[in-house]
């Protein structure tokens, strides 16, 4: 299937590692110029840029903290200046900091909400300003099945992931008449560096939950994101697509 | 074919008539007209009612007016062409006499505008032009004439002051008309200081809504000679239309419907613009009167401003225009206005206008426009 993404310009937040870098490379393979942000992992970020360029596309790494409103507005402006336009915004940067609520500090709550939920607002708003004037655009926000269900020791993370879903639906209503699609991808367990630090007994429990008996790879998530960013998905908006092997139904 | 004449005229007080229903207002004018003609109902063959239905709670107005006037079972029907409804009624009555169907027909122009709430009136106000392509942008009746004024000022150098001279003149004469809504003179300073409505038009450039009625009784030549000694003849009777939408008018500095109707009326009556001594024109806005001088041929195109500011539209000028106060001072009960104009010109030609009499008035004209110029009715009246 030709996704028709040749020549499009994209931003992927949290694109230096994990699902984010897979998305960045997948979009580049489909013909996009890709910009990513990084906060600390500049080495990894630069590698992703080299990989993008190796595919014959323009790559750009911008130092920006997703929880900073100003950083986000500036980054989007920089990318528009450098690439000439913006067509795709993928919000993916996220953290977790688990704990049962009676042991969860204020800082634990605030940090996860600011990076995950506020971070998506910061970038979605900046992109919306561009897309609304342009009368076209695609936004994909990466959430989680834990935004659809409750998860033990994740009041902060689940809140942020659930919030991303509601926010995306509201945004889809606001931007629809400007030919902008806003969708959510909700993975279950994905094999990335972040997952490697999970104790094996939790991993087994998670795999038993899935119907397919497996976890997603970052590349499989990237395939779904690329489809949603394409014109093939132009009639899909306000949708939440789970990619969890049947882990949560 | 027979000549058609006016044998009786009647007028009610225009204003905020919360004391009466529309049929009661109609009766005031009808009673006066019958008395003026010296006839009673048995002499009348039919009536035609000129009114704009959407302002009334009563549906199908002609029926309720006919009943109240005591004219059942004689024929009646409504004519509606916005602000020219009264003249359309006159034209229809005239046609029925011309063809010999009726001999004596009563024309009643009547309107109540104050039965509606402000919001209802404001909603109607936004639907004056072409609703499909224009009303979505919030155009209003004054807005259209304001655009005509902007263009007229741009092309001919007409000034704001010249526009307001029309208002000052008409209020001067209206102060002397007992039927008018506004019976006070105004100063230029007062007019210039009034609030903006749609640039460049201010409150004093605009006529006011009002309630009221007027009546004229028309008769065939034979009947007129039998009944009346002061018949005024309706020798020129013309009507022309122009596009409803300003988007399809070649020029926005005059009303093509008025120009055409005037040409046709003059030809029918065998007169020229120079023969007209007294006229009632449709001054819904000051600029409308200025365009009327030009469309009717009282002055060359573009010279309407100087025409009024040099006193040529006053009594003693070239043509006495709106010396009953015009719509500006009388108010504009839309269905009644056309008949009110006919009343005034008939009065002038009979020599009965008192302190507002135009000397030697033997040929007169009425110019009644519907809406923003999509209809225009021009009548030429003569006294033998």
């Amino acid at each position: 299937m030709d996704l028709g993404l040749e020549g499009k310009n994209a931003i992927v937040t949290g694109g230096s590692m994990g699902i984010g870098s897979a998305i960045a490379l997948r979009l580049a393979e489909e013909g996009c110029s890709v910009a990513i942000n990084y906060r600390r992992h500049d080495t990894e970020a630069k590698q992703v840029v080299r990989d993008v360029e190796a595919l014959g596309r323009r790559g750009l790494a911008v130092k920006a903290d997703v929880s900073s409103y100003d950083d986000a507005q500036n980054m989007v402006q920089t990318v528009v200046n450098e690439f000439g336009s913006l067509d795709i915004m993928v919000c993916n940067a996220g953290i977790n900091w688990d704990g049962v609520i009676w042991k969860m500090s204020e800082e634990q709550w605030d940090t996860v909400i600011n990076v995950n939920l506020k971070g998506y607002f910061n970038y979605n708003k900046a992109a919306a300003l561009v897309f609304k004037d342009q009368k076209s655009g695609k936004i994909v926000n990466i959430s989680s099945i834990n935004g659809l269900r409750g998860k033990f020791a994740q009041v902060n993370y689940s809140a942020s992931k659930g919030g991303e879903i509601a926010m995306s639906k509201s945004l889809a209503k606001e931007l629809g008449k400007f030919n902008v699609n806003v969708n959510v991808v909700a993975p279950g367990m994905v094999m990335t560096e972040m997952a490697e630090s999970i104790p094996p007994e939790f991993l087994t429990k998670a795999m038993d939950e899935t119907a397919l008996g497996r976890f997603a790879s970052a590349e499989e998530c990237a395939d779904l994101v690329a489809f949603l960013c394409s014109d093939r998905a132009r009639h899909i908006t306000g949708e939440v697509v789970k990619i969890d092997g049947g882990q949560y139904m | 074919m027979t000549r058609v004449g006016i044998i009786g005229i009647g007028h009610g007080t225009f204003g905020r008539r919360s004391d009466a229903t529309v049929q009661e207002l109609a009766f005031e004018a009808f009673r006066e007209a019958m008395g003026d003609a010296g006839i009673d109902r048995t002499a009348i063959d039919a009536s035609v009612i000129g009114a704009v239905p959407e302002y009334h709670k009563q549906r199908s107005l002609a029926g309720v007016v006919q009943e109240y006037l005591g004219l059942n079972p004689k024929p009646t029907w409504l004519t509606e062409v916005a602000c020219a409804s009264g003249s359309a009624a006159t034209r229809t009555a005239w046609m029925s006499i011309k063809c010999g169907l009726h001999d004596v027909v009563a024309v009643i122009g009547c309107q109540k505008m104050t039965e509606m709430s402000t919001a209802e009136i404001l909603a109607l106000m936004g639907r004056v032009g072409e609703v499909q392509w224009e009303s979505g942008f919030g155009t209003t009746f004054p807005g259209y004439y304001a655009m005509f004024a902007q263009r007229h000022m741009h092309e001919f150098g007409t000034t704001r002051k010249q526009l307001l001279e029309v208002a000052v003149k008409n209020h001067y004469y209206g102060a002397r008309n007992p039927y008018a809504l506004f019976r006070k003179e105004i100063t230029m300073e007062k007019a210039q200081g009034s609030e903006e409505v749609a640039t460049p038009l201010q409150v004093y450039d605009c006529c006011a809504n009002a309630d009221g009625a007027a009546c004229v009784i028309l008769a065939s030549e034979d009947k007129a000679k039998e009944i009346s000694e002061k018949t005024v003849w309706l020798d020129g009777m013309a009507c022309a239309t122009a596009s409803m939408s300003v988007l399809r008018r070649p020029s926005l500095t005059g009303l093509p419907s008025a120009e055409k109707a005037a040409t046709d009326a003059y030809e029918m009556a065998g007169v020229t613009a120079d023969d007209i001594k007294v006229a009632d024109v449709h001054d819904c806005f000051t600029v409308a009167e200025i365009m009327a001088y030009e469309d009717l041929g009282f002055c060359p195109k573009g010279k309407g401003g100087p025409f009024v500011s040099e006193g040529k539209a006053h009594i003693g000028g070239k043509v006495a225009v709106n010396v009953d106060g015009g719509l500006k001072s009388k108010g504009h009960p839309i269905g009644a206005t056309g008949v009110s104009m006919t009343y005034e010109i008939a009065k002038q030609l009979r020599g009965e206008a008192g302190e507002r009499q135009v000397p030697d008035a033997d040929v007169g004209l009425t110019h009644n426009v519907g809406g923003i110029g999509q209809y225009c009715f021009v009548q030429v009246l003569k006294r033998d």
């Binding site: - | 155009t139 209003t140 263009r151």
Partner: protein, 151 residues
């Protein structure tokens, strides 16, 4: 679809209702009679040159000259929240006329009869329903735009 057109709409049903869909997509459409070729803006389904009812949409450039205008201060129902607003009547380069609001790219003091303008399709952005209109802007203004200098 024609109910999308205008801040307040009184004519939701018309033979030319696709005009509104084209406007939402950024295209300004007049009409052309399939039988005699007469063109019209605004578009009309029934030809007034011949009497045909066969028409097709015909995109116009939006380039126009200002014929006249006014600033409306006393608003009709439905427009109280946007008053005062300035409406202009413009003559299109290809023939025909439009009546529209002046848009953001022009200041009141710049408005002059005879000036060149661009009619630009617009979408009302702060209402949930789809509502479209067109506005009078500086020549060269485009429908889809990205301003690299926005803040």
């Amino acid at each position: 679809m024609f109910e999308w057109f205008g801040k307040v709409n009184f004519t939701p049903y018309t033979k030319v209702s696709d005009f509104a869909r084209h406007l939402k997509d950024g295209h300004l459409m007049g009409s052309r009679c399939k039988d005699c070729g007469a063109t019209s803006f605004p578009p009309r389904a029934d030809c007034d040159a011949c009497a045909s009812g066969e028409f097709e949409f015909n995109e116009v450039s939006g380039k126009a000259t200002l014929n006249t205008f006014t600033k409306i201060v006393a608003a009709p129902t439905g427009f109280e929240d946007v008053v005062p607003y300035i409406v202009g009547v413009v003559d299109l380069e290809e023939g025909g006329r439009a009546l529209a609001w002046f848009g953001e790219s022009l200041k009141e003091e710049d408005i002059e009869i005879g000036m060149e303008l661009q009619i630009v399709p617009q979408i009302f952005d702060e209402v949930e329903e789809i509502k479209v209109y067109y506005s009078l802007e500086q020549p060269g203004t485009t429908w889809s735009k990205v301003d690299p200098n926005w803040q």
